[in-house]
Symmetry: C2
Subunit: 335 residues, 2 copies
Amino acid sequence: MDKREKKRLAILDVLSASERPLGSSRITDILVAQGVEISERTVRHYLLELDDHGLTENLGRRGRRITDDGMREADDSRVLERIGFLSGKIDTMAYRMDFDPATCSGHVVLNLSLVKPSDITRERLRLIGKVFSKGYAMGKLMALFEPGETFCGTVVPDDMVGIGTVCSITLNGVLLKHGVPTVSRFGGLLELQNSHPTRFVEVINYDGTTIDPLEVFIRSGMANYIGAVISGNGRIGASFREFPAESIETVRAVAARLEAIGLGSLMFLGNPGQSIHGVPVGPQRAGAVIIGGLNPMSIFEETGLRVLSRALSGLVDFRRLFHYSEFREQLASIG
Amino acid sequence: MDKREKKRLAILDVLSASERPLGSSRITDILVAQGVEISERTVRHYLLELDDHGLTENLGRRGRRITDDGMREADDSRVLERIGFLSGKIDTMAYRMDFDPATCSGHVVLNLSLVKPSDITRERLRLIGKVFSKGYAMGKLMALFEPGETFCGTVVPDDMVGIGTVCSITLNGVLLKHGVPTVSRFGGLLELQNSHPTRFVEVINYDGTTIDPLEVFIRSGMANYIGAVISGNGRIGASFREFPAESIETVRAVAARLEAIGLGSLMFLGNPGQSIHGVPVGPQRAGAVIIGGLNPMSIFEETGLRVLSRALSGLVDFRRLFHYSEFREQLASIG
């Protein structure tokens, strides 16, 4: 990446991190504070160029706002920071979230999927409900965003709704607040036989990928939730995590509390040093298999609908969540 | 995995590695030689069970043969050996292949895709041809397998043909024969603007995945070859590799020779320590961007056809390859 490109991206980054439009003088101040040597004149020059490319929008005296294209550009360009990105993003989101299970207040980590309401058919609703009721989703709760609503930088298009599924990183976050560090090792495709997990058939390590592994398994049609909920034989997305062996009791207690309030995700917790489905675990550690939050959205892909999903999209207030059985009703209320 | 399961898989593994059927006494010998404690009586017991599950087939006096289901089972069960699998498989195939560019003899590494002939439409042929002619494929050669033909354990179904694309690991193999060790770092999605590569937008490290990253990008609909060949703006699969800095001249010479015989795959070779598209390279190393062999098959996915592709499927005799411009003719000669 050359210098020009770097400065261009630095400006986009400043705008993408800001909730309101910014003028060129404010942008210059922020960049200089970040150690970027740049003059306001140069910033203005780049902004005109960015306007031309549709990456920023000139709102006159209020300053510049980043466009959706600009957000995408800023996001895509950070790939190098994103080598090893998933593990970094996981820890960042765990650090940021502030949900307190004792009072059921604060924010949980959410995945976002964009779907046309007409594509949410009765049959798909039924199957999505089954993924929840069989326990192959992260808990029992979900969220819905109206057309035009913005969730963490993503605007829901006018002809779509945003379906939010709780991301299982929420567990990492709550454990962190209880002083338990979580190592997220890999996302895998877990085979079920007669509704029992037998083994991981595919694995992608979190510290070696820029894309969420479960997103990958679902989008590439390798998951099989329809089989999992109908016959008990299928392939579901799950994540392998590790905790300090000494923290097992805390993990168990926190997981039970989360389960009780509809945020259960712990599928299996091993004893210290115990291998799980053949995955070895060090002696001072305990391994766990965690259900993938995005799982219910696989029903769309498996029934022939390509859906844009984004794991770890952002944080949402817990009060915004509702029980999956109310999904149809909530959809109807949107119109 | 319990002991029973381990022995069952060990038997499947022996059969899957054998080109001809094996009797229980021969299987026992091989297992004992591998250090597995097992009696012939036990092997016979497991074989009956495997027959029952359709994983092996009893050919009477000739012994047991593994079925397609058995091959799949053996393959799926090796996931734990496959954590870090791709980098291991890459080196194994590089070691196994024996193509000699000086004499154009020996075998190259091949990817296999299964497609119904009726799905290979005129428009798709045109676009696939364009991926080759624009240089976004590994060289200019491909292979075709008839319905019912077997390629490295995969039987082409009766209503399909097998399309073979040369895997870029062939380059690693040839370099290895020239004494140059290759480190395959990651598979990435490379963005093109006006037909120029600009940056990697997604990355999956080879040592952290059991699935080929390019397979993933193509299957999940993230690649965009149609854009790449029509407007010059798209996203193509590429691989990032490293060589010892001192071997640059050998790499350049070998790559040129391969290019001349229709097996070109080197998109960019950096100078010692030079970053490529922002990916840093150590001082004693040279980085390179290599074109993904599976790339032309993305056209099927991008035009709405889900295709089963398998990177690094096996080895094929160089004489079996033909120029992509003969694809239609070759297809016609089959049916």
